[in-house]
């Protein structure tokens, strides 16, 4: 139960080179790959099966009403937030708590900006145009995948905010442990970013 009893909670295992948390987050990301992989497969399956013409044909370009500029902006925001996440970790690694924390705050703000653009401009615009998940299979998959992705972003923001706020106490107790946790959060964050980098082209551009 207590940290000192369990081996490798902070220090890496000599063979695997990973501490438990990092190993765990990699495994978790593997399952996330399968989750989003299944949804991407669904996208492919439905798109391949869609007829050329008719009411259930796959919408192209303008028919999707998706603004690639907004999507592109969001892509940039997320990539930037990934960079600041890495910078935060580097600062913690260099024992520079104040700077690291500022980078964490920037990451959280960027993430919130992403969600705001997603909800305020994209979803709201579409609801205004009477486009809902049930409108067509394309929008069903659009809302499901971006929605699930947004939930992941929000989850990430909550974790980052935790480490900015109450979680920061750990820094006083065990700096390495805290930095490790930031590293794990970072891994998750890069994954979420990566999912968006796949989502953006298949929904907005293709």
């Amino acid at each position: 139960m207590s940290a000192e009893v369990l081996p490798y909670t902070v220090k890496p295992h000599p063979v695997t080179g990973l501490y438990n948390g990092k190993f765990g987050i990699w495994l978790f990301l593997a399952s996330e790959v399968m989750l989003f992989g299944a949804l991407f497969s669904t996208y492919v399956f439905l798109r391949m099966g869609a007829p050329e013409t008719g009411p259930t044909a796959w919408p192209t370009g303008e028919e999707t009403h998706l603004n690639w500029m907004l999507g592109g902006l969001n892509t940039l925001i997320l990539i930037l937030s990934s960079v600041t996440m890495v910078l935060a970790w580097v600062q913690f690694k260099m024992d520079n708590f104040a700077k690291g924390r500022i980078y964490l705050i920037i990451t959280a703000i960027l993430a919130i900006a992403f969600v705001a653009i997603k909800f305020k401009f994209e979803y709201a615009h579409k609801f205004h145009m009477d486009i809902y998940p049930k409108t067509s299979v394309f929008f069903a998959i659009y809302y499901t995948m971006t929605g699930l992705h947004a939930i992941h972003i929000i989850g990430g923001v909550v974790v980052i905010c935790y480490f900015i706020g109450p979680g920061a106490k750990l820094w006083e107790e065990n700096r390495e442990y805290y930095t490790n946790r930031i590293e794990c959060t970072g891994l998750y964050w890069h994954f979420v970013d990566l999912v968006w980098i796949f989502l953006f082209p298949i929904l907005y551009l293709l």
């Binding site: 139960m1 009893v5 190993f23 299944a38 009411p55 809302y143």
Partner: protein, 576 residues
């Protein structure tokens, strides 16, 4: 995890919201046994309708209410609910939590010499999310329209147009999947990172290997079902058409409220991508338990230990590319079916290797017929029958006649019921002394075994003949068909077997509770076993071992020539 305060935690922290893997293991075990019994009871109700269709159920017919059983006669909607929930409860709430949550949690850290799981809080969360999923499933019986009634496979469009119970089912499944994911991450990290000094991968007990592969299957196979569950929830709640083609007419009403453009087959692909690895989740830990018990009771090393491990790994890989053999009848062409039939034939080979290794392990042993050994031995022929009858189902041509008949039910129940569940019983009889410090009563144990063995065969053996006769599964009343009516006597025999099997569990239930307080007290290593869990005190204290053990040899060093005793534990320093 930061606390190094050594004060004793209170009752709630110690036994309810405990982070100790042993307490969580017992919580999982007891909860899952309750669900197992519930799932079995649902089946006993169904068996009445099957044996005596449309007749009033004696004694208890009137307690289920007018919506389920007016006048004591079971309605088809209730029958279908029972069928769907029997499958769901047995697999996701009974067997998997027992094998992985209970045995895996309790035994695996002990076998690798770890003080606890790698992430104890995650472990606790896993149990509580599982319990929440179970409660959601139970509550669904009381919503209007009853519990989910589209089968445990929940094929859309049927499940999309089904009653609210289906939504509850989906929420319950999302909880259970989350629980399994948390558990599997924890298991893999624990097995890889927390092994004690000297315990190399090829000195691990086979049970730990089985848990490792199982965890990988859970980790990678469950997310697609979670995705499918999300899509079906969208279909049901947001009106999307992921699984609905256009132009459907349900009950004479044109379905104009949905866009169409989806595919019912999409669900089947996502579902079976989970559910075939799930089959191996059900069987691998069971094989692990059986291997432990066979090695211990033959007093002889397992034959082909490495071959078994390689087979298990291969089985794990292959299980991801056989899923479509559940879908031969969906209009599949020759090329795809040839691929999946071939992978299916290939996957049978590692199973044969494992089974052969276990049987050859008996050769030149000194077999002790203890209660756990009897269950483990019975596992072998029962699993063999289950495995062999998989052949005609795995070949598309013979599957034409046998697909979706009772033959399928007989096949997978032989694998799971007298197979896996017997292995679970074996495990309970084997590790009970470790958990409680007392043994289960032998006489009741033998009674439990022999009665269960006879009646479980009486339940499932007739199903092969029913299937041959072409009787479809999931029929509320098979006598409406001439070919079903002709084999109705088999159904009745099967039903009586099921009820008797229910009675046969009474010795076990009595034994389980009485022995916990009144059983014979035993030493730490009552079975003269070699693996690490028997080094720990019974029951093991918090932190498991008094001193951290070091491992010097493989897991099954029994009857080493020249030794004074016929077992040589892994942690003993001296050479024999």
């Amino acid at each position: 995890m930061s606390g190094d305060h050594h004060h004793e935690p209170g009752f709630i922290r110690k036994y309810v919201f405990s982070v100790d893997h042993k307490v969580i293991g017992v919580q999982y075990g007891v909860t899952a046994l309750c669900f197992l019994f519930l799932g079995f009871s649902l089946m006993m109700l169904m068996r009445w309708q099957l044996a005596y269709p449309g007749e009033e159920m004696p004694f208890i017919g009137n307690i289920f209410g007018e919506d389920a059983m007016p006048g004591g006669v079971m309605l088809p909607e209730f029958y279908n609910s029972l069928g769907a929930m029997h499958g769901t409860i047995m697999i996701f709430l009974g067997v998997v939590p027992l094998l992985v949550g209970a045995f895996g949690n309790y035994v695996m850290p002990l076998q690798i010499g770890a003080p606890d799981m790698a992430f104890p809080k995650l472990n606790m969360a896993s149990y509580w999310v599982y319990l929440l999923g179970g409660i959601v499933m139970l509550c669904s019986f009381f919503v209007p329209g009853g519990a989910a009634n589209s089968g445990w496979t929940s094929y859309p469009p049927l499940s999309n147009i089904a009653t609210t119970g289906q939504t509850w089912w989906l929420f319950g499944m999302v909880c259970l999947i989350t629980s399994s994911l948390l558990g599997s991450v924890n298991f893999i990290v624990t097995i890889i990172q927390l092994r004690v000094e000297g315990l190399t991968m090829f000195r691990l007990p086979y049970f730990v290997w089985a848990q490792l592969i199982t965890s990988f299957l859970l980790l990678l196979a469950f997310p697609p079902l979670e995705a499918a569950g999300v899509l079906q929830l969208m279909d049901r709640l947001a009106g999307t058409s992921f699984f609905m083609p256009e132009g459907l007419v349900v009950s004479g009403v044109v379905q104009t409220q949905m866009s169409g453009g989806g595919s019912p087959l999409l669900w089947q692909h996502l579902f079976w991508f989970l559910a075939h690895p799930e089959v191996y989740v059900l069987i691998l830990p069971a094989m692990g338990i059986v291997a432990e018990i066979i090695a211990n009771n033959t007093r002889k090393p397992l034959w082909g230990y490495r071959a078994m491990i390689y087979s298990t790994i291969f089985l794990g890989f292959m299980s991801f590319i056989v899923w479509a053999h559940h879908m031969f009848m969906t209009g599949m062409g020759t090329k795809i079916s040839a691929f999946f039939a071939t992978t299916t034939m290939i996957i049978s080979i590692p199973s044969v290797v494992i089974l052969t290794a276990l049987v050859i392990s008996l050769y030149q042993g000194a077999i002790r017929f203890t209660v756990p050994m009897l269950f483990a031995l019975a596992f072998l022929p029962m699993f063999a029958i289950g495995g062999l009858t998989g052949l005609p189902l795995g070949l598309p041509a013979s599957d034409i006649h046998l697909h979706d008949t009772y033959y399928v039910i007989g096949h997978f129940h032989y694998v799971v019921a007298p197979g896996t569940i017997f292995a679970i019983f074996a495990g309970i009889y084997h590790w009970y002394p470790k958990v409680t410090g007392r043994t289960l009563n032998n006489a009741l144990g033998y009674m439990h075994f022999f009665l269960s063995f006879v009646f479980i065969n009486m339940v499932f053996m007739p199903m092969f003949w029913q299937g041959m006769a072409g009787v479809s599964r999931r029929l509320y009343d098979q006598t409406v068909y001439a070919h079903g009516d002709a084999v109705q006597s088999l159904t009745i025999m099967s039903s009586w077997g099921a009820w008797m099997l229910g009675l046969a569990q009474i010795p076990f239930i009595i034994n389980f509770f009485i022995s916990a307080v009144a059983g014979k007290k035993v030493s730490n290593n009552p079975w003269d076993a070699t693996t690490l869990e028997w080094l720990a005190p019974s029951p093991p204290p918090h932190g498991n071992f008094e001193t951290v053990p070091v491992v010097y040899r493989g897991p099954y060093e029994y009857s080493v020539p020249g030794a004074s005793e016929d077992f040589h534990p892994q942690h003993v320093t001296t050479e024999a």
